[in-house]
């Protein structure tokens, strides 16, 4: 019927796309920070590794809950349909969640070491290695540094692929003009890295806190987080511009889809929440934080929890609403017409 449409994917899918992005972003930022400064940016790597596995679990739960027959979701894992993005995605999520849990384990402090489980209390402080614990011992104690590097190296492309896949999942559908846009996967990837950085910052500032952290260390961490965020914000603006441009230079149905966010029902959610709240406000605050450092080569400003709080919360809200607008808008847009 004209004017009515059927919403088959609801907010659960939007939540899934969002949290999968957060996980992928956390892992990617953690791995990147580990590569450019394993010692210097240790805190960022560690926090990223701590966060990465858990939003993904929520996301997978949402994904299964969205199925009409959640009890037989395992049929996904019996086959690989080469032409289906969703099938690739299911396997990708399996690999990524395994890698992120291994990475999480490798970053845990020594007292959580699995070797401790097999040790009798009397053995404490004893360096004698029994046969049963030798495998775990090698895994954790001897090769920890090497292993972290390898998992980060393998996991980084997988995390990036998860970030891209959430967009390709929607972008591969030729029937849906709002989704069928080559910039959508890029937009989701940039947003994933952005929300990943924001959740690391949020965790670092408000859950872990700065207890015992020296001024210099804090500044180093802050500089990396803000610089990454700044670059990603700029990329996000370019990608959003190209996304809308791409809709306008396509056939009539795509222009119709663009009108959903250019005066249509999703205008406020897109421009107000995604662009202004999710990008412009944090970008202005980033510039405020970084400008003295860039221009006068001065030291970073004093840490202000309000600024970090607003940036991170705003980026996360904007990241969710980007998925929300895209999921609902894609279904509201008229199917390509004859």
């Amino acid at each position: 019927m004209e004017g009515t449409y059927f919403v088959f994917w609801n907010w659960l899918v939007a939540v899934y796309l969002f949290v999968a992005g957060v996980s992928a972003g956390c892992f990617a930022v953690s791995a990147i920070a580990y590569f450019i400064g394993p010692k210097v940016y240790q805190d960022i790597s560690r926090i990223g590794a701590y966060i990465a596995p858990f939003p993904l679990l929520v996301g997978i739960a949402c994904l299964i809950a969205d199925l009409e027959r959640p009890l037989i979701f395992w049929k996904l894992m019996l086959t690989l349909q080469v032409a289906s993005v969703m099938s690739w995605g299911a396997w990708l999520l399996l690999i990524f969640s395994a890698l992120s849990f291994i990475y999480f384990y490798l970053w845990l402090p020594e007292r959580f070491d699995l070797v401790n489980l097999f040790k009798k209390p009397a053995d404490h402080g004893d360096d004698v290695e029994t046969a049963s614990e030798s495998f775990l011992y090698k895994l954790r104690r001897r090769n920890l540094k090497k292993l972290k590097g390898w998992i980060a190296l393998i996991g980084l492309p997988v995390a990036l692929m998860v970030g891209i896949y959430t967009g390709v999942l929607l972008g591969a559908l030729v029937a849906r003009p709002f989704w069928n846009n080559p910039m959508l996967p890029m937009l989701f990837l940039v947003s994933a890295l952005k929300t990943g950085t924001a959740s690391i910052c949020l965790y670092g500032c408000f859950i872990q806190g700065f207890g015992g952290m020296s001024q210099e260390k804090m500044e180093t961490n802050k500089f990396l987080v803000h610089s990454l965020d700044f670059v990603l914000m700029v990329l996000a603006i370019i990608t959003i511009f190209l996304f809308i441009f791409g809709l306008y230079v396509s056939p009539r149905s795509s222009v119709g889809a663009a009108l959903l966010i250019m005066g249509g029902p999703y205008t406020f959610a897109f421009w107000g929440l995604v662009v202004v709240l999710g990008i412009f406000i944090p970008l202005c605050l980033e510039i405020y934080e970084l400008l003295p450092h860039f221009i006068r080569q001065a030291a970073m400003r004093e840490h202000n929890p309000w600024i970090s709080g607003i940036i991170t919360i705003a980026v996360l809200i904007g990241g969710y609403f980007l998925r929300h607008v895209v999921v609902y808008g894609g279904q509201a847009a008229e199917l390509v017409s004859l």
């Binding site: 996904l76 969703m86 004859l338």
Partner: protein, 181 residues
């Protein structure tokens, strides 16, 4: 091997919805479920005015997006050209509903996706699809496109310049041909 297809002569359709009801009866569907629908469009203002009824059902595409996107392999294209859902393998992810440009897949209360199957169980016994036999103006013509002597093949050969494929530019290569004028 037979390769089934259909011609829909839109100019004969009066919009009585008998095909929808016949299909619902044939397939035991609930009142809100339908494998075919009519797209009604109006053009102009009275008295310079016209309207069209476009009967739409699964186009049984030769390049079916719904089959490509299915993550469990539940959506299949049979060698005889019919696109089917193996309902035991369908997990209800609704990705095929998103992928179909014709909006003809529905989600059943039982949790799987279903759609027009060209009444293939009956066609195999030599009975024609319900939407075709019920139509009072003879809008639909169903048959084997591989057999050059079948009624549908000869109709297509004679009227090729008048026939269109619905959203054919999406490269779905539909098996249903529409006669517009």
């Amino acid at each position: 091997m037979a390769h089934y297809g259909m011609v829909i002569d839109e100019t004969k359709c009066v919009g009585c919805y008998a095909c929808r009801v016949a299909c619902q009866n044939q397939n035991n569907l609930r009142a809100h479920e339908a494998y075919n629908h009519l797209e009604e469009r109006e053009y102009g203002t009275f008295p310079d005015y016209t309207r069209e009824f476009l009967p739409v059902q699964c186009q049984h595409c030769d390049n079916p997006p719904c089959v490509h996107v299915c993550p469990t392999g539940a959506s299949i294209k049979r060698p005889d050209g019919v696109v089917l859902v193996i309902i035991n393998d369908c997990i209800g992810c609704k990705y095929c509903i998103a992928a179909c440009p014709y909006n003809v897949r529905i989600i059943k209360n039982e949790g799987y996706v279903e759609k027009c199957r060209f009444c293939i169980e009956f066609v195999e016994k030599g009975i024609e699809p319900a939407c075709m036999t019920t139509c009072m103006t003879g809008v639909r013509l169903f048959g084997d496109l591989d057999d050059p002597d079948s009624e549908i093949s000869r109709y297509i050969a004679r009227n090729r310049h008048r026939l269109r494929q619905f959203k054919g530019e999406l490269n779905t290569r539909p098996r249903i041909y529409y006669r517009k004028g």
